[in-house]
Symmetry: C3
Subunit: 137 residues, 3 copies
């Protein structure tokens, strides 16, 4: 039987918020020895990613790259009803994705030493983002 729980993150605009601890708590509560943890965000203008958890400059540089993958205020965009960052956010959510899936071993997340799970807000203003975690074993 799968176990599912959810939580909200209040982003403060564009940037990353680590959510490894919240996902780990749900994985442990599931009491599933071996399986997978699926982490999903119910939105199309932010992402969930796995990336380096040691040096914060990695996440700053990801922002630099994202500005090339899907720039703000691009004159080629037709969709800009919510502002200059609207379509950029949808584009970045495609490149970086809206879910991550991690192995569960011995009842806990099995992450590499340097892997953290991050909510990456792509909109410039603060948003409430709902994250759904499902543990299947």
């Amino acid at each position: 039987m799968a176990y599912q729980d959810s939580f909200d993150i209040h982003s403060r605009g564009r940037g990353t918020t680590e959510i490894t601890a919240q996902v780990e708590r749900i994985a442990r509560a599931a009491a599933v020895a071996t399986g997978i943890a699926h982490v999903f965000v119910l939105h199309t203008s932010c992402s969930l990613v796995l990336t380096e958890n040691a040096d914060p400059s990695v996440r700053r540089d990801l922002e630099t790259l994202a500005a090339r993958w899907a720039p703000d205020a691009d004159p080629a965009y037709q969709h800009d009803c919510e502002g200059d960052d609207d379509m950029a956010a949808h584009g970045r959510s495609i490149v970086a994705g809206v879910s991550v899936t991690v192995p569960v071993s011995n009842g806990a997340l099995r992450l590499g030493t340097w892997q953290g799970i991050y909510l990456w807000e792509h909109r410039t203003i603060a948003h409430r983002r709902r994250v759904v975690v499902t543990i299947v074993g």
Copy 2:
């Protein structure tokens, strides 16, 4: 016990086709209360993506961005045996991915209000694309 079913989409060349309803039908048929729905396409020149389901201009703008992520007819490509859009399609399938995984809650897909599941054809001519859906709970 997992539940699995598949269906074909006849794309009309480059562009998106919404498949949320087909995936939802399979998720409900599975009779799994809590779990995940894995949606997978058996090809390397199209994608499955989750994106905004309200304004079609979002998907047109994604096409604009994809033309930068992996342009057609790039002189740097070595692989062009099926035409100018051949390698562009493989490159886009890496950026946007070939599968999506969505939570299942109360026997149905748990998507955000604005999230739809789309087959994104990257080849310029029409193709038949097979989609496999697996529900695990």
Copy 3:
């Protein structure tokens, strides 16, 4: 009950190594008739991808595209403690991802004819990479 196993790949620096056979062996050992195979790499500077398994020029061209998605030695990067390819590798791992999930049917991987699973090393020097495979049914 989920089945899990892992193996190491010794990459020889930037480039792809096919791991379909290793994942297939684990999928068969799991003796799960219907389900999903989740393949995950415990690092943030390489990727796991599904791409064309026929013409090796596809994977060479992916390298050409990746050099645009996240170039080496970009003067805008702040993070370069491990060299010119350090941040490029983290950026590429976001674009191409660190896991793939494939359907399991009749106790075996259900891949399209032209789909192979590849470890894509983004660092220029050789690394040992640990891959964890979980079969859930």
